[in-house]
């Protein structure tokens, strides 16, 4: 005699749900709408990327990714490369916003991201010795330089070691270093941001962090662990 149980029912339900998903894959309607879509065109991008980087990048990427990948199909480049170019375009856009140079009244976020991604695609393919027929991106020289700088990033051995060494530091050290060296915050601004007592305390802590980093580099350069 066959036995039936609640657990069978649960497993059956799970498998049936997966079955429906397979059918949806075929129908091309796999993606469910997300809880809340932020209207990117209305956001102050420069302020947003500085205040809430993770949310800003995730939303920009999520909202524009599929459209760019589909839109760029006509350039005759494989999807993986188009997706890579889009990611580099988003990073270039982020850095452009972060520097405060992005003028949202001149060009919408979507237009700027798309243009930078297209330019990234051209340059990535050029590096591979292939030409891609892409219409003019309408980027300024400075905007193009930002994309090229990103694509041509070529760390020296020492810079590579420093970068790996950063991940071995504690979180507070990483925060101070990021704020000072990437975000270009003054010591005074770091005091406010991280809630330190005064500038001397920040300098002292920063100095200790750099010392740890140097010690790590010394170990690496001398060939020990």
């Amino acid at each position: 005699m066959l036995r039936w149980s609640c657990q069978n029912e649960v497993l059956f339900k799970t498998i049936f749900t997966k079955l429906i998903k397979c059918v949806n894959i075929f129908k091309g309607s796999l993606n469910k709408p997300l809880k809340e879509t932020i209207a990117l065109e209305e956001k102050d991008m420069v302020a947003w990327v500085r205040e809430d980087r993770n949310r800003a990048i995730t939303e920009i990427y999520r909202q524009y990714r599929d459209e760019f990948v589909q839109f760029s199909q006509k350039y005759g480049v494989v999807e993986e490369d188009r997706l890579d170019a889009f990611q580099e375009g988003v990073i270039a856009f982020y850095e452009y916003c972060y520097s405060g140079r992005y003028d949202q009244s001149r060009s919408s976020p979507k237009t700027m991201v798309f243009n930078m991604a297209k330019y990234a695609l051209i340059n990535m393919k050029k590096k591979q010795g292939k030409l891609v027929s892409v219409p003019d991106t309408h980027l300024t020289t400075r905007e193009k330089e930002g994309v090229v700088d990103l694509l041509n990033e070529n760390l020296t051995h020492q810079q590579h070691l420093i970068k790996r060494g950063l991940s071995h530091l504690g979180e507070q050290c990483q925060a101070i270093i990021r704020l000072f060296y990437f975000c270009e915050y003054s010591i005074e601004a770091i005091v406010r941001e991280l809630g330190y007592q005064n500038e001397n305390v920040v300098r002292s802590h920063k100095s200790r962090c750099l010392k740890k980093l140097r010690e790590h580099l010394k170990m690496k350069n001398s060939g020990t662990k």
Partner: protein, 241 residues
């Protein structure tokens, strides 16, 4: 001899582009000193490395978004081969579901859910690249699936949220639930980007251990957030009911 505080401030202001004319002259003079010059080079390299790390972090965020919501323009509908694959998968699943319907109780269905929902978290700290330098570090060993070695390497690192998270993941990969749970429970900083993912893997580990109540409580917590994992948590909660 060591650099003076004034030297450090000169370098700090140079990097910030805030030297006055007088300070600029002092800076150029001090640059002739080997120790000063070496420190300046180190901090300039650090600036470049920091920017590179920021870029890697952005790539990690975007890969995470891909992991939680696959691009819909992977145009399965327009690809004949993928369409056949999807229908074949559907047919197989239908057969399996009929089989399960007729079978007696299957033990350990919670670990079945673990198998369905577990996916390795990507290595976003130091991802493997072509022509990468040196021996793989703990994070790369994890990425390569060499979990035992990853556990040893990551256990030697300072106890930080990032290191604990990947240590927990390595234990999970190595099917050691108890130490995985211990490592993930150590991640308590709610502001950390790894907090919610840690809660997710903690829920899965408890599920594997048959601790349904604990897993459910954790999943309900994730479901109440805005994190990308909240949709998955909701889905798993529905399956568990």
């Amino acid at each position: 001899m060591g650099l003076s505080e004034k030297d450090h401030i000169l370098i700090e202001k140079h990097l910030a582009g805030q030297l006055t004319e007088t300070e600029q002259r002092q800076f150029l003079q001090r640059k002739e000193d080997a120790e000063f010059s070496s420190e300046l080079q180190f901090q300039q390299d650090l600036k470049i490395a920091s920017r590179s790390q920021e870029r890697d972090e952005l790539r990690r965020l975007m890969r995470e978004t891909d992991a939680y919501s696959r691009p819909s323009t992977r145009s399965f509908a327009s690809n004949k081969y993928r369409r056949i694959l999807a229908w074949s998968a559907a047919a197989i699943l239908l057969l399996i579901s009929v089989f399960v319907f007729l079978l007696p109780v299957l033990p350990g269905s919670e670990s079945g859910f673990y198998s369905v929902y577990y996916e390795p978290y990507p290595n976003t700290v130091s991802p493997l690249t072509k022509g990468g330098e040196g021996l793989p570090d703990g994070f790369q060993l994890y990425e390569l699936g060499r979990y035992e070695e990853a556990i040893r390497a990551l256990s030697d690192l300072p106890v930080t949220t990032t290191n604990q998270f990947y240590l927990g993941l390595s234990y999970l990969g190595d099917d050691q639930m108890i130490p995985a749970i211990a490592a993930m429970q150590g991640i308590t900083d709610r502001q950390s980007e790894y907090f919610i993912p840690a809660q997710w893997y903690l829920a899965l580990a408890h599920l594997k251990e048959g601790e349904l109540d604990t897993a459910t409580r954790l999943l309900e917590g994730i479901n109440q957030t805005d994190h990308a994992l909240s949709a998955k948590a909701a889905e798993l909660l529905e399956d568990l009911q």
